[in-house]
């Protein structure tokens, strides 16, 4: 717990606030009472300030941890790849190969087209998302308190699980969405892709009927298209956010006497063990869905069926 004076609500809110760097407008009264004479790029001191910074702000903790963990993944795996030899694998190399083989099999099963990018993408998603989710298992106060100690600011915001930030999960989903559209257009051509969006699922074969079906088709297809990245990003965010929330609530119970401490310890352990499953599963689901979406982007079957 971060101090006696803090209320439970304040504690929770503090834990759910990112470290935001953004621009505050001129004439803005800050949290500590100072009045800004002109627009300033600064770190938000409160949730209100963070909200007032609008869209053009960066979550330094989210980006920092996600890039850091991504680099950990890249460097470890690149090192394993560089040292790899086709003789008997040992230690870390066999671990890496186990994961690579696992991903390769899943991608081969779900993605029957020729695209060398999909399997590496799946590997990146799985390991990276897993690492980001894994931050959830580190006790909720350790890293924020360490950050507060290092920065000297007792109220410094620091959220260590990037996947509990919708920006991170939706950002990844957006990237998957961009790749989907890119490969759709690359595989089917722009016209083919537009046809897919407008002449499906309702298709009569007579142009004067089809013209009237286009708006309905497009509405349905657009919704299902947009729903893919949104559900992809929100699913991961929701699961991890809920998990983080429960960890925070359990952390509050720690401060409520001896009985509460023992109870909270058991609860924390139970939830953490359960969460090991959740973080792996969510990383896996995100990866499999991304591969499935790529597969749908490459799929021309639908078109041919309706051409007949």
């Amino acid at each position: 717990m971060a101090g006696e004076a803090q209320t439970v609500t304040g504690y929770i809110q503090h834990h759910l606030q990112n470290l935001v760097y953004g621009k505050l407008p001129a004439g803005y009264t800050r949290e500590d009472g100072t009045l800004l004479s002109d627009g300033t790029w600064t770190i938000a001191q409160s949730s209100q300030e963070a909200a007032d910074m609008g869209f053009w702000a960066l979550h330094l903790d989210t980006l920092g941890w996600s890039i850091g963990l991504g680099l950990v993944f890249c460097l470890l795996f690149a090192r394993a790849a560089r040292r790899a030899s086709s003789v008997v694998p040992t230690g870390f190399q066999s671990f890496v190969e186990l994961i690579v083989d696992f991903i390769d099999r899943i991608v081969k099963d779900t993605f029957p087209y020729r695209n060398t990018m999909v399997a590496p993408m799946a590997l990146t998603i799985f390991v990276w998302v897993f690492l980001m989710n894994f931050m959830d298992l580190i006790p909720v106060d350790w890293l924020p308190l360490a950050a507060a100690q290092i920065s000297g600011n007792e109220h410094a915001f620091f959220k260590v699980v990037p996947t509990t930030d919708p920006n991170a999960t939706l950002g990844m989903a957006l990237a998957v969405f961009i790749l989907m559209i890119f490969f759709s257009i690359k595989e089917k051509g722009l016209l083919g892709w537009i046809k897919e969006l407008t002449l499906h699922p309702f298709h009569s074969g007579k142009w004067y009927v089809d013209i009237f079906l286009i708006p309905f088709n497009f509405l349905l297809e657009a919704v299902s298209l947009i729903a893919k990245p949104v559900s992809l990003g929100l699913r991961l965010f929701g699961n991890l956010y809920a998990g983080e929330m429960i960890f925070i609530l359990i952390a509050i119970v720690f401060g409520t006497g001896v009985l509460g401490f023992i109870g909270a310890s058991l609860m924390h352990m139970g939830w953490a063990i359960f969460h090991i499953l959740v973080i792996t599963l969510q990383a896996f689901v995100f990866m499999v869905l991304s591969v499935v979406y790529m597969s749908m982007a490459h799929d021309r079957e639908e078109e041919h069926k309706h051409d007949q």
Binding site: N18, H59, S86, P120, I125, P166, L174
Partner: protein, 156 residues
């Protein structure tokens, strides 16, 4: 909880990591793994083949051994036969040679006897003539009495 530029930053980061993995992590790892799979497959196949070869070689070796034993027995048999044959032949040859030598020796003896007889006869004839001359005190006309002498010599 606000949607901010972080979203775009995260997208770019994501694509960058995917690109890195695509270019530097996945291909070498997969190449190595495929190579090893190939090696293992080859190794298993080789082992299988070696096993078959071994069995074949063992069977062949056994066959060869049996054949060699049979042949050795045959050779020994033949050698034994030939040895006894040679011994028999040698015996026969020795026997024959002995007989031959005996006959030759006999013949020579006979010849020697005959020659001695002849000589003796001649000497007796000469002695007879000389005795007769002395007795008759005359010279016997060799021509006139030749027949007589010869008759005498033949009688001796």
């Amino acid at each position: 909880m606000n949607i901010t530029m972080t979203l775009i930053g995260q997208s770019i980061t994501f694509l960058a990591f995917v690109w890195f993995c695509w270019k530097f992590v996945w291909p070498p790892l997969l190449t190595v793994m495929r190579e090893r799979e190939q090696k293992i497959a080859d190794g298993l196949r080789d082992a299988e083949r070696a096993h078959k070869d071994l069995q074949l070689a063992q069977r062949k070796a056994t066959d060869e051994l049996i054949a060699a034993k049979t042949k050795a027995a045959e050779i020994i048999d033949g050698a034994n036969k030939r040895a006894s044959q040679i011994v028999d032949e040698a015996k026969q040859a020795a026997h024959d040679e002995g007989d031959r030598l005996k006959i030759a020796a006999k013949a020579e003896i006979q010849q020697e006897v005959n020659r001695a007889k002849e000589q003796l006869r001649k000497r007796v004839a000469a002695l007879s003539v000389a005795g007769a001359e002395k007795i008759l005190a005359v010279n016997i006309d060799a021509k006139a009495h030749n027949d007589l002498i010869h008759k005498l010599a033949a009688e001796l």
